[in-house]
Symmetry: C2
Subunit: 456 residues, 2 copies
């Protein structure tokens, strides 16, 4: 009855995984054509994802039976972030062809994710003008996110004229929720929602159904700020200006994809693996991971140096060594808990009006309370385990002190980094655990050295 | 010229922080009325955020000069997640009044975030029927996220009839991008975009401008899956069904707010502080942090026990103790890097078609490569620092082994937890660092014991 409305339906991740397995088996059996038959009835977003997940040889095999046009169409139908992920897995020829037909923002998104040499190679094969306009703008800015079209009409025109403007915006009109309204000098003065356009008569002046613009961004507003404005003010699309003139619009769906991507990178930054794709080439993983492993190596040797200062104490009471991971481990966890909350609150703009001093005091107090509970607990455990009351006392005190340090630096480090303009997500974790390691060992072994008579 | 279109403009976080400071100073000087004058011209989203950030006494003072209606209006204008955060900071009386006028979803969102006793108290003061309908649905499901209105029209009607349906949906019509189309038995058969409604004549049959539905969810579809469908398929609003009948719609703006909230909780879960609000009451922070600090304490004693097994070796070569944090620290960082990537990729559905075995092999190999580089490096550093070639060799080998373990468990643990149906974000980190601590110490001290002649 409604056959004209049928099209590929959404599937679950489990269904996608199962189809992916079947496709892989068919390709391995040399039946690429049957594999493609299985895929072609899916939604382009699923075709793209499944192809991206195939092992290299299978991916090349299935692409060889698809037309380049189909590949281009698939990329075009996907959200920009996922399209970027898929595109990086394709061969240069296919990619150049597909990108030649893609939206400039997608082209950039893909080029951003390729190794530099391959990106240059692909970019060289594209028509230079194709993406020149968008290439002006830095990555992760409004200019980078926007669609370079300007859905505007004059504020003194009638609904019927706005309808014609909407009709003329073939490519993006389905994704618009508002038309922007401009004054005599082309300045932005408001907006009109498509819903009101749908309800008004052609003769209704737009002024009667117009609404104010809450937020406007410029081409170099950071993507993170665009996402915040969208979320905080419940705005569906954001007008982008440059030199006071409207140059584009950020659509809700692009903002959502960008927000999730920004969140992903924030999580990855805390673990210092930003920009990494699971299952990508090993060489790129090594380039991402190894520098931070090296930096961390430096900090662990700082901790090692601290322990080394107390070698004579350790020689006298070798059992102290066993408790080193307890002091350091708890401090690290406590610091990371606080840090995670603060880094995220900073990113979401939740700290407005909450003074840094108040926050630091609060987290130090929280650390103190945790420290009392954990200090008593470890003291008792150490006493029962090693039958050494002095050791229990020393361990308990060190634990107490290190939890206060953990709370203080867990909050203080990201707040300080933000103050000096460094992204707290990037380096907070390594600084905080260095503090809790070094000061934890200093406290524990220092107190032990000072009260060596108690524990021997 | 366009004064009718003026309304509060968006401000930056820095501007908001500055206004918050001025408001705080005015209130502390006893000038609540001037403080409110400063606030009242802002966007409700900013008023709410600034009030939420004030210290308790100042917050109560400023609320005393606002009408409860204003508070209710502010909450209503904010996105549901931020409104929930603000509401938890308000006194019970104000809150009861504001919630009595709020959307059921917001009521639930707020009640979700209150301590149980306070939630019961506030809920008891509300009209029971007010939120009964939404209370049926579990938190973080489509039923919980949806607006319980059904913007539908029959597929065989004309554009003019759809316009009347849209007009009748006063409350949410500004937020709709599509009307859903139903067949004779009320079954969902498609949708029509508001853009097409704006362009079509009243006499145009809807069938001519209808488009297919890509994704439909049921009331108990998890919010995370709704967000994935929205993003993956570029869908602006999702129809929600129950027993095959349309019961509501999830709007794009609610999905974005929910997505950011889910991302926040995912980050917090990795650090085991899920659901915590920065600057909230200390008691709730302790309830969130302490259980995980206790669990972690157990795992650090596991590590301590491992070290303790080798006390006689440590007594012979006390310098080994200094290197314990190096082996454990690097393993922990390496494991966490891999883990962060895998947990996020699982949450975003990026692992479709990428087999677990292939991923494990890849991460183990990556660990091996890191291990070779870091192993050689630490061996050289240890040799130069302690002039002990045997020690360098033992440390290098242990590092190599522990990096392979880090890569394998960093990928293996979240993949396994997902397979058995446990959220990998919740417990992966503690399991992975336990592995890298315990096996790191076992390897390092085990090899040292076996080759004790080399290092003494």
């Amino acid at each position: 009855m409604v056959s004209e409305l049928e099209q590929p339906q959404a599937i679950t991740l489990d269904e996608a995984a199962q189809i992916a397995d079947e496709v892989k088996e068919l390709i391995e059996a040399g039946e690429e054509h049957s594999a493609w038959e299985l895929l072609q009835n899916l939604h382009p977003a699923d075709i793209g994802t499944i192809i991206a997940g195939l092992p290299r040889a299978s991916r090349d095999a299935i692409i060889s039976v698809m037309s380049p046009d189909t590949v281009a169409w698939i990329l075009h139908q996907m959200n920009p972030v996922e399209a970027g992920r898929v595109a990086t897995r394709l061969g240069s020829n296919i990619l150049s062809f597909a990108l030649a037909q893609a939206h400039p923002r997608q082209v950039l998104n893909v080029l951003d994710r390729l190794p530099v040499r391959r990106a240059r190679e692909v970019a060289a094969s594209l028509e230079p003008l194709e993406s020149a306009e968008m290439l002006e703008y830095a990555p992760d800015t409004a200019g980078d996110l926007m669609v370079g079209q300007t859905p505007t009409t004059h504020i003194d025109s009638l609904t019927g004229e706005a309808r014609e403007v909407l009709r003329s915006l073939e490519d993006i009109r389905q994704k618009l929720t508002h038309l922007f309204l401009v004054g005599n000098d082309g300045e932005l003065v408001g907006q009109v929602s498509v819903v009101e356009l749908a309800l008004a008569e052609n003769e209704t002046p737009l002024r009667e159904i117009a609404s104010p613009l809450v937020a406007t961004v410029t081409t170099d507003t950071p993507a993170l700020e665009c996402a915040r404005l969208q979320r905080h003010y419940n705005v569906t699309q954001l007008p982008v200006t440059k030199d006071e003139r409207l140059v584009g619009v950020i659509l809700a769906e692009h903002l959502l994809a960008a927000t999730v991507e920004l969140d992903t990178r924030q999580m990855q930054r805390v673990a210092n693996v930003a920009g990494e794709t699971v299952g990508g080439p090993l060489s790129s993983s090594i380039r991402t991971h190894l520098p931070w492993l090296m930096i961390n190596l430096g900090t662990t040797f700082l901790a090692a140096g601290t322990v080394s200062l107390f070698e004579s104490t350790l020689a006298q009471v070798v059992v102290l060594a066993a408790f080193l991971p307890v002091v350091a481990g708890q401090g690290g966890i406590g610091g990371t808990q606080t840090l995670t909350l603060i880094v995220r609150a900073i990113a979401l703009g939740e700290l407005v009006g909450i003074g840094a001093r108040r926050l630091l005091m609060r987290e130090a107090l929280l650390g103190l309370l945790h420290g009392v509970v954990l200090g008593v607990l470890v003291a008792v455990i150490a006493l029962l385990w090693k039958q050494n009351p002095g050791l229990g006392l020393v361990l308990g005190l060190a634990m107490l002190g290190n939890m206060v340090i953990a709370g203080t630096v867990g909050a203080g480090v990201p707040l300080f980094l933000r103050r000096v303009g460094i992204d707290p997500a990037v380096s907070s974790a390594v600084v905080v655990t260095t503090f809790t390691d070094v000061f934890g060992f200093l406290l524990f072994l220092g107190i032990a050295s000072a009260s060596i008579n108690l524990i021997t």
